[in-house]
């Protein structure tokens, strides 16, 4: 199993300790394939991150993020193709614009905007995906459960 130092998953937590639940919306072409590559290459990442596939990050309706947080997610990742590489030309730019506004909105609602993260992961960046998932899990663990914000 390939596990690099910066990529190491925290040691298994005691079963009664609070575990975050993170939802990740990944575009079909770059990031979902990149996450699959992490799997094929057995690069470990945090099991609290759950992937939902969308065709493009341009599909990301801000409601999805709000709904995820409402339904009990403690953090949300949106991951798409790198700028300029979008399979649909520019959907990732649309996502970028929406996320900027959304983070501001989250702040107004008293939710730490760090709970929403937008990243670019290409189909060849399995390592980057694993790193992203682990970093987010670490971040959310330090922020604590969502209900602490509200």
């Amino acid at each position: 199993m390939v596990t690099t130092a910066e990529n190491r998953v925290p040691e298994a937590a005691p079963p009664d300790e609070w575990q975050p639940r993170i939802v990740a919306f990944l575009c079909n072409w770059c990031s979902y394939t990149g996450a699959d590559l992490a799997g094929i290459s057995r690069i470990e990442w945090d099991p609290t991150v759950h992937i939902v596939r969308v065709m493009c990050t341009g599909r990301m309706d801000p409601t999805f993020v709000a709904k995820a947080l409402e339904l009990g997610a403690d953090g949300v990742i949106i991951s798409g193709c790198h700028p300029g590489d979008c399979h649909y030309q520019e959907g990732n730019y649309k996502a970028l614009r929406r996320v900027h506004l959304l983070r501001r909105l989250l702040k107004d609602f008293g939710i730490d905007p760090q709970r929403l993260r937008l990243v670019w992961v290409s189909a060849s960046e399995g390592v980057e995906w694993a790193k992203t998932a682990n970093e987010m899990a670490r971040e959310i663990r330090s922020l604590g459960p969502m209900r602490a914000d509200a």
């Binding site: 079963p15 992490a38 799997g39 990442w45 939902v52 493009c56 599909r59 694993a130």
Partner: protein, 1144 residues
């Protein structure tokens, strides 16, 4: 049969052997699923993708009425089609299947069974909740255009193109270079069989040329790709070749091309001409002119003189041709060779190395040579005469150029000159020591030979009027007029006493001297001003034996006079008083007796950007002078206008500087048919600037008389900053300026100062032939072709077309193969190996060219000094298998290195050492070849080379190289003396691989090569349907592997062509027209312009064929009127709710 009504969900959890089951408790996942709403059956099974696994699903659909399926298994990118197929076989719509990815995104990336199982359960819950909301969808079908685009004409692209066309389909083969053949065409032998590369490649190249359905597009690049599998629209830019298909490959052009630039086909080891064919067997065999932008010298010249062209011809000793080339665009070559301010030299790229080429001096040399050898040069007369007549008023540079151009077009041209001498400022303004009169006469003679009528003593406003010219009066009746009356009026200083005797303007002073009219130059002359005219007046006054002082109100650095002029003036004893300005002319008895002056200091910059001179208080002082020549500026004379104003309205318009107000592009005045140019428009300008205006005027008059619109001019207006694009190097493959040898600029010999002051004889004496040739050889041939047009003249079938333009072609193709190849690692990055520093350290490809019979050494292995090497070191893994550069193995180098060893042994007596890390002889016959090379006596040293250093023999002579390395087999440090080092450099993706990837929507692997769809199961497909990859663009590989991959890609392409149609996933945007409010937000968001607004129904409509299903519009619709089929809001939210549902 399944009922698609209320959901009856079947859940199938795959063990995938141990792949999933080792980390995820599949039974627990199944148990939880059993308890979820709508789930009628849940099973776990060892291999769901097996037939037996699929049968489970089919059975449940048929027997239990399952109408929704969730498979928890590997990634949907892997087996989604499998399970959809199974459902479809059982009569269920395939889009009622949902995959939960519990292998790649769960079991394989987590190690702790508890959390992994929790997560798998959540993912299955999400899928169950989602699938309940799935609706049956129908995949669309589209026809496949059988034509195919193959990008890259190397062995990969070529092979695939041949396969596809042989099957009877059209292929467009797009190649960036001038020939197909790629890297393979540059190799000598191929391993391990030692076939000659050309022998096995060229038959394929010729075959491609013969294939009627293979459309070869060389010098071409794909600019954009739109559409989808089966239906792509591709825009291809075909760069101009400048040689038409009439070319017979006779090579007569090569014999006359004076250019030499480093030859990229031969790895820059030798030079080649600008017009060339990459190699003898190149296909297409049509020659090509390498033209990477226009030389800065030519670009900077207002008359677009082919400076680089004639300079190159001088270097070749072809003076008669040089003169002819100069005369082609220049009506005043003798004048320009002497007095042009030479914008070309300012722009010359050579100044980035040392100093600009002495272009003006070379032009003078050529024209002087012509005068000596060709007493009576004859212009080419126009093929036909035109009936229209044009009057040119003024015989200065702009009038003469206009007349010259129009006469060449066949118009009848008459010049009207006020003075008795022709030439305008050239005759009355230029002192004879700069431009001897016989020289001007020779230029005028040549223009006369074109049939231009030149009348002297004809003054506008006195002897004739503008109305007369355009009237039918005898001797007139012109159809158009070009006003080029110059700017001959010196501007006064505007100080008291200026009208005293002995005060004269610079232009008047020069005119009277030049026309031989009486003019008394005193003993003590003051010149006021610092321009070229001021200096001409000063130097002229010195020749009239006066003591001369130039008064200038700023300093030398602000003075507009040219450096040469200034240096000559100083040498001739002209004094310069800077920061001095006259405020009053002192007059005694009506005659000037001196100047009252003030001292200045420099203040803030003014509008011209020069520091404004400010008077120093109390600095007033008187200076004795008996002559004051005021030369601060000139303006056109407009006295003629009162007498000669045309009756036509609107009349001419003037600016506040008395210059004519004309259209800046066409030079048209408000009076129809009357154009104006030169100093009368520009104010005092240089000779060549005025000539440029004459040229534009001629073009405008030609358009006017031909009834064309006065737009789209092709005559040149130089940009403010010419020569851009040549910042680093003069030619794409040249060394940078900083690495070029410095060569001093030729200094033109001059007459001695003492001699100069005795008469008006010419000061500059001109170059000797030897000086001129040496100077011309300094030319860097910017952008390769210098537009000398020698090839044009030499080409028997007249195939050279320098006016050719790039063409953009739109192709409709069904599929695309990208085979764009590789580049070699830049070995100079590993500085310790000395590549680029030591002569005899070469790359593998350079060595390959050396071995080739058509290469620079005609197949001999030679050192730079021409001797054969005594020992050769071959270094493996240069830039590959190296953490610092590329971690991957380049796969071809071990075998290429062994081939080199064999060929060195075959062709020289040299010892050969191979320095390797691991020997990778993996292919068919490779190991056997390795054994053969070992038997031939090549020494193998296992160890990475540390460095290559220069060394000398024991007696201090005999320079050679030392290779230092650790021999890991004997565990010792070694130093091996060799004469030559061959570096087997890594194969890398091309520098622009990212751009190529973007055009074709390809992904790239971390090493930068294009990413195949699956590393094992789909090595030629990509993530974009209908786009395939082959050859080294996908990763380093040798020729057999490349050909195999190309043929695989061809087979894939042929499969789809023969199927004739593609299935397009029904993931599309759908508008619910009842909800659509017509806000049009979606329309601007769609990258495919698939949404349009139906203004009658006031709703948005989606064109299904164009929609690609990204869902951007779905997310943006404020009324939620757009649904993303397969990815509806409800489905995604249900999946979310399922994943986040409390696990219980």
């Amino acid at each position: 049969m399944a009922d698609n009504g209320s959901p009856r969900i079947g859940v199938y959890v795959c063990h995938c052997g141990f792949n999933i089951a080792a980390t995820v408790d599949v039974a627990a996942v199944r148990e939880v699923a059993e308890g979820r709403p709508d789930v009628v059956v849940a099973r776990d099974y060892q291999f769901m993708c097996s037939n037996a696994g699929q049968d489970l699903i089919k059975q449940d659909i048929e027997e239990l009425g399952v109408n929704r399926v969730v498979v928890a298994a590997c990634s949907p990118l892997m087996h989604e089609p499998t399970f959809r197929g199974a459902a479809e076989a059982a009569g269920l719509n395939p889009y009622l299947v949902q995959i939960a990815n519990i292998r790649e995104q769960c079991a394989w990336v987590h190690h702790d069974r508890g959390p992994a199982t929790t997560k798998a359960t959540a993912l299955v819950n999400g899928a169950v909740a989602r699938v309940a909301l799935h609706e049956p969808l129908k995949a669309m079908r589209a026809n496949v255009t059988p034509a195919t685009l193959v990008v890259g004409g190397g062995i990969a692209g070529l092979q695939a193109a041949l396969d596809i066309t042989t099957a009877g389909n059209e292929v467009y083969l797009v190649e960036r270079r001038s020939t197909i053949g790629g890297k393979m065409a540059r190799f000598d032998k191929t391993f391990p069989t030692l076939d000659c590369a050309a022998c096995i490649l060229t038959p394929k190249m010729v075959g491609a040329d013969r294939q009627p359905n293979l459309h070869m597009m060389t010098l071409s690049e794909v600019e954009s790709v739109e559409g989808f599998v089966g239906n792509f629209e591709v825009k291809v830019r075909q760069h101009a070749r400048y040689v038409t298909a009439d070319c017979t490959s006779c090579s007569d052009c090569v014999a006359v091309c004076p250019v030499s630039v480093p030859d990229p086909f031969n790895e820059l080891l030798v030079g080649r001409t600008a017009i060339h064919k990459a190699f003898p067997q190149a296909i297409p065999s049509t020659y090509v002119i390498d033209r990477q932008g226009r030389s800065p010298c030519m670009e900077a010249c207002p008359i677009h003189q082919n400076a680089a062209g004639y300079v190159s011809l001088v270097a070749a000793g072809r003076y008669a041709e040089a003169a002819k080339l100069i005369r082609r665009r220049n009506p005043l070559p003798f004048i320009c060779g002497r007095v042009c301010y030479a914008a070309c030299e300012e722009a010359c790229s050579r100044s980035k190395v040392d100093e600009p080429i002495a272009i003006r001096g070379l032009k003078r040399f050529v024209m002087d040579w012509e005068r000596e050898h060709e007493p009576d040069p004859q212009p080419d007369l126009p093929a036909q005469r035109r009936p229209e007549k044009v009057a040119v008023i003024g015989s200065g540079p702009s009038g003469l150029t206009c007349a010259f151009d129009l006469a060449q077009e066949g118009y009848g041209v008459t010049i009207f000159e006020k003075h008795d001498k022709l030439g305008g400022m050239l005759a009355v303004g230029l002192p004879g020591y700069r431009c001897p009169r016989p020289i001007l006469e020779r230029d005028l003679d040549y223009i006369r030979k074109l049939g231009v009528d030149m009348k002297t003593g004809q003054e506008l406003g006195k002897t004739f009027s503008l109305d007369d010219l355009l009237s039918d009066a005898p001797g007139f009746g012109f159809d158009a007029v070009f006003l080029a009356i110059g700017a001959h009026r010196g501007l006064p200083l505007g100080i008291p006493g200026e009208d005293a005797e002995g005060v004269v303007s610079g232009v008047d002073y020069l005119r009277t001297i030049n026309l031989g009219l009486p003019q008394t130059t005193g003993k003590r002359v003051a010149i006021v001003g610092g321009g070229n005219t001021a200096l001409d007046a000063a130097r002229t006054a010195r020749r009239e034996h006066a003591e001369v002082t130039v008064l200038y109100r700023r300093t030398r650095s602000e003075m507009p006079a040219e450096e040469d002029e200034f240096a000559d003036a100083v040498a001739e004893g002209v004094r310069f008083d800077y920061l001095t300005a006259p405020i009053e002319v002192l007059v005694r008895d009506g005659r000037v007796s001196g100047l009252r002056c003030v001292r200045m200091e420099l203040g803030e910059p003014d509008a011209s950007g020069r520091p404004r001179p400010v008077v120093l208080p109390g600095s007033e002082h008187d200076r004795p002078f008996d002559t004051v020549i005021v030369s601060i500026s000139q303006s056109p004379d407009r006295d003629w206008y009162g007498n000669g104003s045309p009756s036509a309205k609107p009349a001419l318009a003037f600016t506040k500087w008395n210059t004519l107000d004309v259209d800046p592009q066409s030079l048209a005045t408000p009076v129809a048919g009357v154009f104006a140019g030169g100093d009368v428009v520009l104010g005092p300008a240089t000779v060549v600037e005025s000539m440029g205006q004459g040229r534009r005027g001629a073009e405008a008059i030609h358009k006017f008389l031909s009834g064309m619109a006065l737009e789209g001019f092709t005559s040149h207006m130089p940009p403010a900053q010419p020569g851009l694009g040549f910042e680093e190097r003069p030619y794409l493959h040249s060394p940078t300026y900083s690495k070029m040898e410095r060569l001093p600029r030729a200094e033109m010999p001059k007459r001695s100062v003492a001699e100069r002051l005795t008469d008006y004889g010419e000061v500059d004496l001109g170059f000797t032939e030897e000086e001129a040739k040496r100077e011309a050889l300094r030319c860097l041939h910017c952008g390769a072709c210098v537009e000398c047009r020698s090839c044009e003249a030499a080409c028997p079938p007249k195939a050279v077309d320098l006016e050719m333009q790039d063409e953009i072609t739109t192709l409709e193709v069904g599929q695309i193969l990208v085979a764009t190849g590789y580049e070699l690692f830049d070995s100079s990055q590993i500085t310790q190996y000395g590549y680029g520093r030591y002569d005899n350290v070469v790359t593998g490809l350079e060595f390959e060219r050396m071995l080739n019979s058509t290469g620079p050494t005609a197949g001999q292995v030679l050192l730079k000094n021409g001797k054969p090497p005594r020992a050769v070191g071959i270094v493996h893994c240069v830039g590959s298998r190296d953490e610092k550069y590329n971690v991957y193995c380049s796969r071809t180098c071990c075998m290429a290195a062994l081939k080199f060893a064999h060929l060195v042994k075959e062709r020289t007596e040299a010892d050969v050492y191979e320095f390797y890390i691991d020997m990778r002889a993996f292919g068919k016959g490779y190991e056997e070849f390795y054994q053969r090379v070992l038997r031939e006596g090549t020494t193998m040293i296992r160890g990475k080379v540390a460095e290559v250093v220069p060394a000398l023999g024991q007696n201090g002579s005999d320079p050679h190289l030392l290779i230092r390395c650790e021999d890991t087999l004997i565990g010792k440090f070694r130093e091996i003396p060799v004469d030559m080092v061959v570096l087997c450099s890594a194969l890398e993706p091309p520098k622009d691989a990212a751009d190529i990837a973007r055009v074709f929507s390809l992904s790239r692997s971390p090493d930068g090569f294009f990413l195949e769809r699956h590393p094992k199961l789909d090595p030629v497909g990509t993530t974009t349907d209908g786009v395939y990859v082959a050859g080294c663009s996908q990763g380093p590989k040798d020729i057999p592997d490349t050909v195999a991959q190309a043929q695989a890609a061809a087979a894939r392409i042929l499969t789809l062509i023969s199927r004739g149609e593609v299935t397009i996933p029904p993931i599309r945007a759908v508008v619910n027209e009842a909800l659509c409010g017509g806000c049009k937000t979606c329309i601007g968001l769609c990258p495919y312009r698939a949404i349009h607004f139906d203004s009658e129904a006031e709703v948005a409509r989606v064109n299904e064929a164009l929609c690609q299903g990204c869902g951007t519009c779905v997310a943006a619709c404020p009324a939620s009127a757009i649904t993303g089929a397969g990815f509806t809001d409800a489905q995604i939210l249900a999946e979310l709710a399922g994943i986040l549902a409390p696990v219980g």
